[in-house]
């Protein structure tokens, strides 16, 4: 369970989900996000259930400190001014892109444009108290016990289990149609009480949204309707979208927190598909009404639903992306390390460090412990090597070479624990972790299953938002994550034989390994030139490892590839 601290609440911010039903009969409004579509899209991009609660911000955003890691997504009204502050530097947060934040990040959302309501969604949702079946705050009546607007100092919990987001596809989010402020209306309760001139007149000139508009209702100023306005009518149920005309002749469009019954004549009703437009109407903005039929209203809704339902979880990006320290090198030569017990194996690991430029350090899943991590980090730092984390299925007995049947929650916890241990030791040494490379069976499972790769990377990005993803050259995962904007390194093996189709020859085959150093160096060149390999790997547990590393390193140096 994570915690968000409200540092500044902005103009009006509150927790909202999709509202509460079943209590309209005793005067409780439906409430919920005014722009339901934006909240739903935000939740879908994060792989959340659509009903999860987010923070609705009006006019101007707030400032929120995340005491724990989180993946967030901003939707609804746009802003030029959403950024996360890390170590005193501000990094922009893109709109509609799941973004991983490290613990201690401060998220600032400034003035909103293209609408007046933005949504801050969090993976696994905000966990404020559920009242009458909903977390939605009835901000106009803090006294009613149904929540209130956020205030400075409030703390909000989010997520109540290890992330179980099942990212099953990499489809880009459908561009939700840019909304223009036309509100389509259909005939309603008292349409026939108005004259034809009045009904036509409603759509002639635009109205201007009044400053007093809020979640209960959008008040419009403009040309009064010609002729007498029908007087009060007997009380009847009301709902969001109803266009009421009080004696003044200036319409009020009911919002999500509006009264559940009313006695003003209702000239028309804004169609459901246009309620997000209504929600985004800001003070002094101009809006126009247009009459449509009920059939068209439903078709518009179905189209909008199809758009919303096409939104799939997006790939998570780190809020901060800087080039790894080694970016001037064109290709990295790496080895896996921190896997051997103290003894001969470890001295070979140390010897390898003299020839490689990157080390992938085991962090306790298949091998390694605090002592070996510290040792490997110190060695890498001494030789100026780039450091990568090397998590695995938790399987020391099988050295991480078996796919473990475990639930996503347990796997998420294990990966987080491994990476956090690595982060701690790297911090202690004052070095950065530049990439994350899964080990053994996890490496292959991630490489082949794009959905799993997105899920895995969301977990990794929580701990290392700036790190690069490492996967095998030509793998589905590399293509998918790169397509989603995740920085990647594609890896090839100098000392393993590749099949003609680009796959690795099985270790069970007798001739899977390349033992000849020159042959390995030639393969390295091929991998770089024909497969776009960024990271060459030498296994540290083969007898010829040091000689191979020396030969490859020399070849790269001669060719000017390092």
């Amino acid at each position: 369970m994570g915690t968000i601290e409200v540092i500044e609440a902005g103009m009006l911010s509150s927790v909202q989900d999709l509202g509460r039903s079943g209590y309209q009969s005793v005067g409780v409004p439906e409430g919920g996000a005014f722009d339901r579509v934006s909240l739903r899209v935000g939740n879908r991009l994060l792989g959340n259930d659509e009903h999860e609660a987010g923070i609705e911000m009006s006019m101007r955003g707030g400032v929120f400190r995340f005491l724990d890691p989180a993946v967030v997504c901003l939707t609804g009204a746009r802003t030029n001014d959403a950024a996360v502050e890390v170590d005193g530097r501000l990094m922009p947060i893109p709109h509609g892109v799941p973004t991983a934040l490290g613990a201690g990040s401060v998220l600032r959302v400034g003035a909103l444009r293209q609408g007046v309501r933005a949504y801050l969604c969090v993976a696994d949702g905000i966990r404020s108290e559920v009242m009458l079946g909903s977390r939605s705050a009835l901000v106009s009546l803090p006294d009613a016990g149904l929540g209130r607007a956020l205030r400075r100092g409030d703390r909000l919990a989010y997520g109540d289990h290890a992330f179980q987001v099942d990212v099953s596809s990499t489809t880009e989010p459908a561009a939700i149609e840019e909304q223009i402020s036309v509100l389509r209306i259909v005939p309603s309760m008292h349409t026939e009480l108005f004259s034809q001139e009045q009904l036509k007149g409603l759509c002639v000139e635009p109205f201007v949204v009044a400053d007093q508009s809020n979640r209960a209702g959008v008040r419009l100023m403009g040309r009064l309707l010609e002729g007498a306005i029908p007087g009060r009518v007997s009380s009847a149920g009301t709902m969001v979208g109803y266009v009421q005309v009080p004696a003044s002749g200036e319409p009020i469009v009911l919002g999500v927190d509006g009264p559940t019954t009313g006695g003003y004549p209702v000239i028309g009703c804004v169609i459901e598909a246009d309620l997000p437009v209504l929600a985004q109407c800001g003070p002094r903005e101009r809006v126009r009404f247009a009459w449509v039929g009920r059939g068209e209203a439903r078709r518009a809704l179905l189209k909008q639903e199809a758009d919303v339902e096409s939104v799939r979880p997006g790939a998570v990006v780190g809020a901060i992306r800087h080039r790894p320290a080694s970016s001037q090198r064109r290709v990295l030569l790496g080895c896996d390390t921190g896997e051997a017990e103290a003894g001969p194996g470890r001295s070979q690991e140390l010897e390898l460090l003299a020839h490689v430029s990157a080390v992938s350090i085991a962090c306790g899943g298949h091998a390694g412990d605090d002592e070996s991590m510290r040792h490997a980090i110190a060695g890498a730092a001494k030789h100026g090597c780039v450091i990568g984390a090397h998590p695995s299925y938790p399987d020391r007995a099988g050295f991480g070479r078996r796919t473990m049947a475990m639930d996503r929650g347990s796997l998420a916890r294990s990966i987080s624990a491994q990476l956090e241990a690595m982060a701690r030791h790297a911090d202690d040494h004052g070095v950065a972790v530049s990439y994350i490379k899964a080990h053994g069976a996890l490496y292959h499972d991630v490489a082949q299953d794009v959905g799993f790769a997105h899920w895995y990377w969301a977990r990794c990005a929580l701990v290392f938002p700036n790190a690069r993803f490492v996967g095998p050259i030509g793998s589905a995962a590399i293509a998918a994550l790169r397509h989603s904007g995740v920085p990647t390194l594609s890896e090839g093996f100098c000392d393993r034989v590749y099949e003609p189709d680009g796959s690795l020859r099985s270790r069970h085959a007798g001739d899977a390994l390349i033992a000849d150093p020159e042959q390995a160096a030639a393969q390295a060149e091929r991998l770089i030139h024909t497969h776009g390999c960024d990271l060459l790997c030498v296994h540290s547990d083969t007898p010829d490892a040091v000689e191979i590393a020396r030969a490859v390193s020399e070849r790269l140096r001669v060719r000017g590839l390092v």
């Binding site: 039903s21 079943g22 209590y23 309209q24 009969s25 005793v26 005067g27 409780v28 409004p29 439906e30 009242m131 009458l132 009835l138 009546l141 006294d143 009613a144 016990g145 149904l146 259909v186 005939p187 309603s188 309760m189 007997s234 009380s235 009847a236 149920g237 009301t238 709902m239 979208g241 109803y242 009264p259 559940t260 019954t261 009313g262 209702v266 009703c269 169609i271 459901e272 009920r294 059939g295 209203a297 439903r298 809704l301 179905l302 639903e305």
Partner: protein
């Protein structure tokens, strides 16, 4: 039945008559008996029920037909006779009629040219019916007030009416469940909490309930107020 948008149907019944209790029953019936997922809300008032539909899964004609058959079932089960003759729940609300908690009591009596006791006797001397729920959670419009006690609303609404305030305006009387703005005349206050989301039935009042006001002293008001708080925590 008539459409009031592409996603809502207004059920007016029976023709023209005021039948809050039947409307309340009908609204509950519709929610319980519906094809799951079809009805998003059913809001009853004295003259009918507004039914909000989820129209993503069904064509408009099919939704209309489904509501129609729900209503037929309801009529068949409940007969044509209105349930309103048979009553509705009885609710007694204790009220302290005192200037200290009902700041308009003196003004109202002066305006009507009667003493305060008369105002109290009129207000507490009859049984009201919850004619509409609305305005805010737990707020019931109760009718109707003794004719001699009817006054227009205040010209300038108060920006802050304390929760529990008992008020009159025109032919209606009501209790403000929550602190809010309000334009009615405040003649007393109840220690009873009319809305509490932590209770199984959050609202004390439902449409069609019969309501009596029982005068209590300011001491009783304070004691009951304390008890109510302790109940809650």
């Amino acid at each position: 039945m008539s459409w009031t948008s592409e996603r809502s149907i207004w059920v007016r019944r029976p023709e023209g008559q005021s039948c809050p209790l039947e409307a309340d029953h009908l609204a509950k019936w519709v929610v319980v008996e519906q094809t799951p997922g079809m009805v998003r809300a059913a809001t009853p008032t004295a003259h009918g029920v507004l039914i909000e539909l989820d129209i993503r899964q069904s064509e408009l004609d099919a939704a209309w037909a489904a509501v129609e058959s729900l209503l037929e079932c309801f009529s068949a089960q409940h007969g044509s006779q209105s349930a309103d003759h048979r009553g509705g729940r009885e609710v007694t609300i204790p009220v302290c009629y005192d200037e200290r908690v009902g700041p308009d009591l003196g003004w109202v009596s002066a305006q009507l040219g009667v003493d305060r006791e008369q105002v109290i006797a009129w207000h507490s001397g009859r049984t009201y019916r919850v004619m509409t729920m609305g305005f805010m959670p737990g707020f019931g419009y109760l009718g109707s007030v003794e004719e001699a006690l009817r006054l227009p609303r205040r010209e300038t609404p108060r920006t802050r009416v304390p929760s529990g305030s008992v008020a009159i305006a025109e032919e209606m009387t009501a209790v403000y469940p929550h602190q809010s703005a309000g334009g009615w005349h405040l003649i007393g206050r109840t220690p009873m909490r009319l809305f509490d989301p932590l209770r199984d039935e959050p609202a004390v009042l439902r449409l069609g309930d019969r309501v009596r006001f029982e005068p209590i002293t300011i001491e009783a008001f304070q004691t009951l107020g304390e008890a109510e708080k302790q109940d809650r925590y």
